[in-house]
């Protein structure tokens, strides 16, 4: 009878280690044959461009998203590009009621008996985004005569709410009490200063006056400027030190701007951006099969059924067109595309996540300046693939409506305009499809 051997733990560990080493060596590199003749199957890639009526139902433009006060700057313009007028409105915080004063003994005391003897309004302007003339420009300052509502103020209405509308005494946020003009040369700095006398600063000494605030406008024609910040600096003579002048700052409480004319959306235009911002809603209706060009059909079976596997690229092609004068893009327009989750609730439909990578597509302003416009490709491959999948997968819910909007709302006064249905260059859907002969076993 044969005996049973003893075992050594050390040797078993050595065996285990060698197994590990061998298994770790399981890096695979497939044997490769570089031989065209040996390719077992074939694939054909084609491009099919669908006109609007073959892939979409309609486009609708909705406006009113955002308010001018939400922009990080105000705007002043006068006959910019022959049309645009814009004025910036500012209301003030309350005047300071106390100032710290060092008396003749050197002690710092709080002086509440402040006499405002004058002041100045300092406006900080954007020296980079100056449109129109190149040299010094003249700006005008006026004291508003009536209160206004930050959220609803417009060129013609000081208040535009459900409870009532209050028009301006004059269109354009007027009338105003003129407080003078000042010249600004951007080569000399970013600030323009308006000197004020005691009567002027007294206009805003109470809360009603503070709410009325000021109107800043351009006097020089053909320009457009951005107003970054406006501050009121009060000159006061404290009673405890009547020989001393103190300068106390009063920040702006509210800032907005009004403009004219309001760029109504003409029929057949797709619009994105502006303030209040516009969104354009495209409703898709994809076909089940597409028909490539005749010469392509000599090589592959036509029509081609749209399947997720066959789709390798889908891009919406929009042709830019000039915006209304005064609203032409002067900086990059960042366009985002999102699903409208409840299209029937537009303009208040909730939106899905962005369908574009990196949060949006950047379109440089030059693309909007060519007279004939330029094509802009908006990649929608993943979304279109989802639409195709949803046909057969009832668990997938993909909205057929997508919204084109500015990546930030509002972002700018200018907006991007594209040719819509009925235009010479309506939107098109460019598909790149690959069809194969099928993978067989032989």
């Amino acid at each position: 009878m044969r005996g049973w051997p003893d075992r050594s733990g050390k040797r078993m560990r050595a065996v285990g280690a060698s197994l590990v080493l061998g298994l770790v060596g399981c890096q695979e590199r497939f044997p490769t044959v570089l031989d065209d003749a040996a390719f077992p199957t074939e694939a054909y890639t084609v491009q099919v461009t669908l006109p609007f009526h073959e892939f979409a139902k309609d486009v609708r433009v909705w406006g009113g998203y955002g308010r001018p006060y939400e922009l990080p700057h105000g705007v002043v313009a006068r006959s910019y590009e022959g049309e645009l007028e814009a004025r910036t409105l500012i209301s003030w915080e309350a005047y300071p009621g106390v100032a710290s004063v060092r008396d003749t003994t050197g002690t710092v005391r709080a002086d509440t008996a402040l006499v405002f003897v004058g002041g100045r309004v300092v406006a900080v302007l954007d020296t980079l985004d100056v449109r129109g003339v190149g040299g010094p420009v003249t700006l005008g300052l006026g004291a508003l005569q009536q209160p206004w509502d930050l959220a609803t103020v417009s060129w013609n209405l000081a208040v535009d709410s459900v409870g009532g509308r209050v028009p301006w005494g004059e269109p354009g946020a007027g009338p105003v009490v003129g407080l003078g003009t000042a010249e600004w040369d951007r080569t000399q700095g970013d600030s323009v200063v308006f000197a004020l006398d005691s009567a002027a600063v007294a206009l805003w000494a109470d809360s009603l006056g503070q709410r009325r605030g000021i109107r800043l406008e351009a006097v020089t024609e053909g320009i457009r400027l951005h107003v970054n910040r406006v501050t009121l600096v009060l000159t006061t003579r404290p009673r405890s030190r009547p020989d001393t002048l103190l300068y106390l700052s009063v920040p702006a409480r509210e800032r907005t701007f009004v403009y004219h004319p309001f760029p109504e959306v003409p029929g057949g235009e797709i619009r994105v951006g502006g303030v209040p911002a516009w969104r354009s809603v495209l409703t898709l209706d994809l076909p089940e099969k597409v028909y490539p060009a005749a010469e392509v059909c000599s090589r592959i079976a036509c029509p081609i059924t749209l399947t997720p596997q066959a789709l390798v690229s889908a891009s919406l092609v929009l042709r830019t067109q000039p915006s209304r004068p005064g609203f032409t893009p002067t900086d990059t327009l960042r366009v985002d595309v999102r699903e409208a989750l409840e299209p029937s609730r537009m303009p208040k439909s909730p939106l899905g996540f962005s369908l574009l990578p990196f949060g949006g597509l950047s379109i440089p302003p030059a693309r909007f300046q060519a007279p004939e416009g330029e094509d802009v490709l908006i990649p929608l491959g993943e979304y279109v693939e989802g639409l195709i999948r949803a046909r057969s997968d009832t668990t997938m819910v993909v909205s057929k409506s997508v919204v084109f909007l500015s990546a930030f709302e509002p972002l700018s006064l200018f907006y991007g305009a594209f040719q819509g249905p009925g235009s010479p260059h309506p939107p098109r859907l460019r598909l790149i499809l690959t069809v194969g002969r099928g993978v067989q076993l032989r």
Binding site: R2, G3, W4, P5, D6, R7, S8, R11, A14, V15, A17, S18, L19, V20, L21, G22, L23, V24, G25, C26, Q27, E28, R29, F30, P31, T32, V33, L34, D35, D36, A37, A38, F39, P40, T41, A43, T45, V46, Q47, T49, Q309, A310, V312, S313, S315, P357, V376, L377, P379, G381, R430, I432, T434, G436, G438, V439, Q440, L441, R442
Partner: protein
């Protein structure tokens, strides 16, 4: 009181066991250091793939894989081999391989590599019946390969470069159950039955190397998956003519190999006819420390050339091998057998319907870990082969190593 043979050993500098395993690990596992490990062959692309014999390291080193080897042998190519077992035994083989390809339309083919597990076998004697039951899972065909090309597509007047890759990933293996019966001390017979199993995934991927401006382009992929099934029967004999001479023979029959598409794969099932195989072998102890092994095999194909339901040649294919095993290198308590061999075999599938020939010189060493009397009950065998395959204008040089770990008497 039985004295343990393995306890109380004083550790020496790099014990031979660890050294042997370290060498194999370095050969087989350079993937651990970032270098390629092993691979199969560009001949995997032809027909049903590259045939992988389920041989252990000792058989590989001796060149004469198959029946008639002296010692503990219980692989699927020797159905009667387990009849000589008196202990339960198990063995596992790993086989890394790397190759370099030249010639033909293959445009180089590169340096394929990969690791396979050609054999996992278990044998259990049933002393009451005088026989041994065995189970083995061994390789049969390897179908891993890929082909690439660069081409251009025309999209509305503009040409774009694309890269196409066609890849095949899979293979066929055989799960066998066998019974080997001792007929006295010198003769044994064995029978076996098994199922062929496996799958292959074939895919085409097209990728754009540059894309139209502003477009986002994803890769196109088309694929199909098939599952293999079939049946195999085998029979064999072992005859210890005299104490120093053993001869053996084996016969294998295969049913048609069915390839059924998966649910997502269009198309019908395909059936392939497979050959029958016969092997004979012998091993003799020329001296107390030197054995000679010889082996020969024949498989009969009834193919129609490349492709079709009857792949492979319409002729028989031969394999021959010979080797020696020398057990003169011994330690205090065990021997380290050294093995050398040569093997030549004809392969069933080659480019343009050719019959490739594979020839390889081999060497190997064994490490006896456990011994009971004259029987090695546990050990590790390592083999290394250097060979070449040629056929249809394609030439492929390869290195192949095999590690077998065997444990018996548990």
């Amino acid at each position: 009181m039985r004295r343990s043979l393995f306890r109380h050993r004083t550790p020496g500098p790099i014990p031979p066991a660890a050294g042997l395993l370290l060498v194999w690990g370095l050969l087989a596992g350079p993937g651990a250091a970032g270098a390629p490990a092993a691979a199969q062959s560009v001949f995997s692309k032809e027909g049903l793939g590259y045939p992988l014999d389920p041989l252990d390291a000792r058989s590989r080193a001796l060149g004469a894989g198959g029946p008639g080897l002296r010692g503990i042998v219980f692989g699927p190519l020797d159905p009667a081999g387990p009849s000589a077992l008196y202990f339960p035994a198990m063995e596992l083989s790993l086989q890394p391989q790397w190759a370099s390809v030249q010639g033909g339309g293959a445009g180089g083919g590169g340096r394929p590599r990969g690791t396979r597990f050609p054999l996992l076998a278990l044998a259990y004697p049933v002393s009451r019946l005088g026989g041994t039951v065995s189970v083995s899972f061994g390789s049969f065909f390897d179908q891993r390969w890929e082909t690439r090309r660069r081409t251009r597509v025309e999209l509305e007047g503009t040409s774009y470069p694309v890269s196409d890759v066609f890849q095949s990933d899979g293979g066929v293996a055989a799960l066998r159950v066998g019974w080997a019966q001792r007929l006295g001390d010198q003769v044994g017979v064995g029978v076996g039955a098994g199922r062929l199993t496996g799958a292959v995934l074939r895919s085409l991927t097209r990728r754009f190397d540059s894309v139209p401006e502003g477009a986002q382009v994803v890769s196109f992929r088309d694929q199909g998956r098939w599952m293999y099934s079939g049946t195999t029967l085998s029979a064999g004999f072992r005859w210890d003519v005299v104490e120093v001479l053993r001869v053996g023979g084996a016969f294998q029959w295969f049913s048609d190999l069915e390839a059924r598409p998966s649910r997502d794969t269009p198309g019908e099932a395909v059936s392939y006819s497979l050959p029958w195989e016969a092997r004979v072998g012998a091993s003799a102890a020329l001296t107390p420390t030197l054995d000679l092994a010889l082996g020969m095999g024949y498989s009969r194909w009834d193919g129609e050339g490349d492709g079709g339901d009857s792949p492979g040649p319409s002729q028989g294919l031969w394999s021959v091998g010979a080797g020696v095993e020398w057990r003169g290198w011994t330690g205090a308590t065990r021997a380290y057998p050294l093995r050398f061999g040569f093997r030549r075999q004809e392969l069933p599938f080659g480019p343009q319907g050719s019959i490739p020939v594979e020839s390889a010189w081999s060497g190997g060493v064994g490490l006896e870990l456990f011994r009971a009397g004259e029987e090695v009950l546990g050990g590790v065998d390592l083999s290394l082969e250097r060979g070449r395959r040629r056929g249809g204008g394609v030439s492929e040089n390869f290195w192949r190593s095999t590690l077998t770990i065997r444990v018996a008497g548990f």
